[in-house]
Symmetry: C2
Subunit: 312 residues, 2 copies
């Protein structure tokens, strides 16, 4: 299946990602088979508040990458939803825009009720698309709370989308957004207030202070009008992305981010493995007996946790 | 501090919960001191889609419990927000409704960017309020995706709030909501469509099938008009809650839920402890070196995770 996916067979790619989502026992083998073929794709994270046009911008970016002859994988992640039905519907609608183009693979991922679902499944799905020969893997997330911080931790380059007339939204989200953005995109720039949004953003960035050291990357702000039919400004976004890619290479930050990302992935798998072992322990009488003691007030949860760990 | 909290000193209660939120090193000691005094409070979970009036209903329930002479603790949890500022503002507004009443303690908890924040901090904050002599601890959550399932896992009894005219909302959320609700409250029942909502809900419940076994609890549906000034139907909710409490006791389900809850809490603390140890490992060269090997394609994340665990 891995070799067929490497030849660009979309059905094999889909099956491999389903193995990831379902935490299949085959995953270990799959991961070992993928490993030698990974590390080539560039990972772009795309986030922003609801209503700024994330999926239309993703579609416009995909078109632009395709014009440049790049193979593109898209993972649309909705960490707030334990349900995958809605996501699948959106999938199908979006697939139509690229129907018949074997250079594009689009997949929605729901977190399926797992806490830590994004941290666990997304890097592995990225790895599948990477090994399958995607030049670019675009991870798009519904920007609520911590998800925008998480998507940044997965990406080489993080795009933050905003739109005019949501000044308060920017204020509310700025703590997170200012930190994670490598490139700002002010979408719907044909609307009133686009210049104000750009100015506000610039003011906040200059207050931020993070980007003043020598050699630091200063996040550019690009205005776009991306819809199903228009791509205004999108080539400009690609140019800024290329510049950021060069900076990642020359500064060593790119390598640092990849190592950091791998470390986090390894840690997440290790934690899941330990949790599973604890599940086995809870299948035995140990956790149950400890929980009874906590309910009776005979012990506290910390002492009980120590004893549980001692059982491993 | 624990003994002052037990005497009902609100400031000591606040400090203890802050220790929980900040994951203070003192927590172990605090937990040990609290343990003998816990297990008395009844935990109510309250959830539902945005806009159904969760905080006004909470306020009305608090008033009703106070009329019945019960001491009440409220934890308002917003798991989608890594920021606590907004929550604190809401706190202050709501505190005014019960200003000067030492029988009510209200606290907002943000998840502070921790994944698993709700699972980790909330049970311990509940434990503080329990030991401080609250008869009822009401955990209110912003109902998005998995949070409503989580709040149910923390509670003895879960109230699910709905409002008329959100039929689609019910449809979207029903998979989760039907499973977790012990009592349904259709709030804003003075609005058009309240009877339709009740009917739809009843139809979905009868399709669900879960509640048909002998001795099973059949979730009642109560109509309310709860606002800052009105309490219509709220006493009826309290009556249904009392019935559910009796059922929990007589069926043994109450004890089962408490033990299950304690088991989950112990497990969460154990996982956090193991994660911390892994953080220590990552401070050493081990995780870094493994991550470099993953980036180079020399190993895969699963094998690396195995080696990391071996380091513990």
């Amino acid at each position: 299946m891995v070799s067929r996916a490497r030849e660009g067979d979309a059905r094999s790619v889909a099956r491999l990602i389903s193995l990831v989502e379902d935490a299949s026992p085959l995953l270990r083998e799959v991961a070992a088979a993928l490993a030698p073929h990974t590390g080539r794709a560039r990972v772009l994270g795309l986030t922003g508040p609801p209503g700024v046009g994330k999926s239309t911008t993703t579609t416009a970016l995909v078109r632009a990458f395709r014009r440049a002859g790049q193979r593109v994988g898209v993972l649309a992640v909705d960490p707030s939803s334990p349900f995958s039905g809605g996501a699948l519907l959106g999938d199908r609608v979006r697939m139509q825009d690229h129907a018949g183009d074997s250079g594009v693979y689009i997949r929605s991922m729901a977190s399926r009720g797992h806490l830590g679902g994004l941290a666990w499944a997304t890097p592995q799905a990225m790895r599948v698309l990477d090994a399958a020969g995607c030049d670019v893997v675009l991870v798009e997330t519904v920007g609520v709370g911590q998800s925008e911080l998480e998507v940044a931790s997965l990406a080489d380059t993080t795009l933050v989308l905003l739109a005019p007339g949501m000044g308060d939204g920017i204020q509310a989200a700025k703590a997170g957004i200012l930190e994670v953005a490598d490139v700002f995109v002010v979408n719907k720039a044909d609307r009133d207030g686009a210049d104000t949004t750009v100015r506000d953003l610039r003011a906040m960035l200059s207050l931020g202070g993070r980007h003043t050291e020598a050699g630091a990357w200063r996040p550019p702000i690009v205005k776009t009008v991306a819809s199903r039919d228009t791509d205004n400004g999108v080539d400009d976004v690609l140019a800024r992305l290329a510049e950021h890619g060069e900076w990642l290479d020359s500064s060593g930050e790119g390598r640092r981010r990849r190592v950091e990302r791998a470390a986090r992935e390894v840690e997440a798998i290790a934690v899941a493995g330990l949790r599973e072992r604890m599940g086995d322990v809870s299948g035995s009488a140990a956790l149950g007996a400890l929980a009874e003691q906590v309910v009776a007030g005979e012990t506290d949860p910390y002492r009980a946790a120590d004893q549980l760990i001692a059982h491993l």
